[in-house]
Amino acid sequence: MDLTYSPEEQAFEAEVRAFLNAELPAELAEKVRKRRELTKDDMNRWHAILNAKGWLAGTWPVEAGGTGWSAVQQHIFEEECCRANAPRIVPFGLKMLGPVLLKFGTKAQQEEYLPRILDGRDWWCQGYSEPGAGSDLASLKTRAVRDGDDYIINGQKTWTTLGQHANRIFCLVRTKTDGKPQEGISFVLVDLDTPGIEMRPIRLIEGGYEVNEVFFTDVRVPVSNLVGEENMGWTIAKYLLLHERTNIAGVGFSIEALEQLKSLATQVRRGGKRLIDTPLFAARLAEVEIDLEAMRLTNLRMLADAQKKGAPGPETSMLKIKGTVIRQAINDLARRALGPAAAPFPSEALDGNAALVPEDHAANAASYFNNRKISIYGGSNEIQKNILAKGILG
């Protein structure tokens, strides 16, 4: 048993740290630390910096313009990025569609789209969920009907994250209505400029805009935009979900959030005492740290296993469940640490002399509410438990 990284991995860790130190713009890190909304330009700027270094596509092979990193290297990179408060890599092109095209796409599709993802010409978004198809994704109804060399698409997608920035969307559509629902789904690429598409923003619980509804009315898409074969979309969707699950535990986010929380608890006072010295709050803080330490190791154990076997298995569901629960527990403490001062909307008016909370923490309540989503999206924790239960009980 050896819990340390290999010398090569340690050297890689140091290299990543040095790179972030030198290249991550301070104003981006500050925005992330304060949980301010990032603009499209902010995200593109960070992508361009990573792309210049050749580090943007951590999960792609070198031939495709990726890094060729091992699972452990990917993990190290993610964790260091979180620690440094780097913007999150927008996953839709790089972590979702890219791997799908590399596995299922034609050579023409790979040559057309992969470079455009890397250099930022394309911003992809995801058309999976529908109002009637959430956890039961296979029941999706958006219809694609063949007409000569085109499909004609009608239907509605929802929860399309950052669709407002996107110029393209990859969609699951129904191409066959008889037989098992899973066997009539196809994976198609759609240009958002195509006539008949309307994107409407959805306002979230804390007031922010990050997801959208997308309506399709007689949208014509060339059959050449089909990825894989017709009706094999479900296989592709499952492959994509597995890829989405690397770093699903979000350990790096939790480590950084816990550090910020501890710092907050040394600044906030209740009467003459620092919050971190009040036994009840300290006990909760210690408990979540214990859970996180264990989670960090569980994550590494599964990572080592995946590295040996070549691919992550269904046990990643465990990482998703526990990882999101721990992140939410930290968000909860960060909100309650502020007491009444958590209540104001994060607002510029309370900066400077009027500041009410220690720097960086004005958005703690908003983040708590917003992060209720992490146990819902990407397959809710209930669905993850179904997957695990099936593995144990058959």
Partner: protein
């Protein structure tokens, strides 16, 4: 033993509930709750006419209620509708001015709106920790310090302030114009403000106000507990309805045992919350008042957060949206714990008074 609600209180609950559902529906509520001045003057007058404020004081002080159950009746209905009107500060002011012997009519009629400023950044919940200073160097009282997250500060006609002076903690009254107030909206709706006092002119209401402040805070915490019970009932009704109608995998999701058991757990916690609130209401004005209120506020803090989080999780993405009322109920339910003492604060108060019964 009789757990029936009295005829008078049931009538008040019915008329208030009907008024709020007819005239303070969720769309109007959101329009008022998230934009300055976070208050609808006409609706405030209507509520006052319904007797909502008179119910907060006893008959010998010009009201027609004033018992724990009267406060619970009013606030449970306000919670059910997520009403953002600043009734809570009016209740605190009623209790404080009752103790001082002042004429309550302007308060109970709703003509004069009060805010009550007690908490500070480093003393959010405990009165004994406040540091705002009151001095009298011959020309009248002057206050210096900062009061934080003062609910209803912007809409108030008068503000009651707790401040420390040579002889202890006193209660003072000022006109809002005498303080520098930065007003803002809150994440769960309603308005508050930061009050900056710099030798601000004030009138002394009571020199030794420690006990009356504690009493007012107890009544406020009871009101918040009742508000949470009303909001939990409404949120739970929405959830149950969704579980019955939302279909996935070919059937209503309420047919899945994993969700059934969690829905039942919420029901149990809500009944526990109702019980502890009834218990606290029955003990107002007795020796056990403070301890019972702390028990209620602690349990409510835990139950309300559970209902908020579980109702979002079980309803899924839709409950994460602004458009769906459940999200606003969830926010209020969570943020009630940030007012007048959170679960830890009240747990400590109960811990400080753990005695074997025999």
């Amino acid at each position: 033993m009789d757990f029936e609600v009295s005829e008078d209180r049931r009538m008040l609950a019915d008329s208030l509930g009907r008024y709020l559902s007819d005239h303070y529906g969720i769309e109007h509520r959101n329009a008022v709750a998230y934009d300055a001045p976070f208050h609808d003057a006409q609706k405030w007058r209507d509520l006052a006419e319904l007797g909502v404020l008179y119910a907060l004081a006893p008959e010998d002080r010009g009201g027609f209620g004033g018992a724990g159950f009267d406060v619970v009746t009013v606030f449970e209905q306000l919670g059910r509708a997520l009403c953002p009107e600043p009734v809570l500060p009016q209740l605190l002011a009623t209790r404080l001015l009752m103790a001082s012997g002042a004429d309550l009519e302007p308060l109970l009629s709703g003509a004069t709106r009060y805010a009550v400023a007690i908490g500070e950044i480093d003393a959010p919940y405990a009165v004994e920790d406040i540091t705002t200073e009151a001095t009298d160097s011959g020309g009248g009282w002057r206050l210096t310090g900062r009061k934080s997250v003062v609910y209803g500060a912007e809409a108030a006609d008068r503000i009651l302030i707790a401040a420390r002076h040579a002889g202890g903690i006193g209660l003072f009254e000022i006109a809002p114009g005498n303080a520098d107030i930065t007003a803002y909206g809150m994440i769960d709706g309603g308005g508050a403000g930061e009050m900056f006092l710099d030798k601000s002119e004030a009138v002394l209401v009571a020199g030794d106000a420690g006990a009356m402040l504690q009493d007012a805070l107890d009544w406020g915490a009871l009101a918040l507990a009742a508000e949470a019970v009303g909001a939990m009932d409404a949120a739970n009704a929405m959830l149950i309805d969704y579980l019955k109608t939302r279909k996935q995998f070919g059937r209503p999701i309420g047919g899945f045992q994993a969700l059934q058991h969690r829905a039942v757990d919420l029901g149990i916690e809500i009944e526990q919350a109702r019980s502890i609130t009834i218990l606290a209401a029955s003990r107002m004005g007795t020796q056990a008042q403070s301890r019972s209120v702390s028990m209620a506020k602690n349990l409510i803090g835990r139950a309300a957060r559970l209902v908020a989080e579980e109702s979002i999780q079980m309803q899924g993405g839709i409950a994460m949206t602004w458009e769906y009322p459940a999200s606003h109920y969830a926010k209020r339910l969570v943020m009630i714990d940030h007012q007048l003492g959170d679960t830890e604060f009240h747990l400590e108060r109960v811990m400080a008074d753990l005695r074997p019964a025999r």
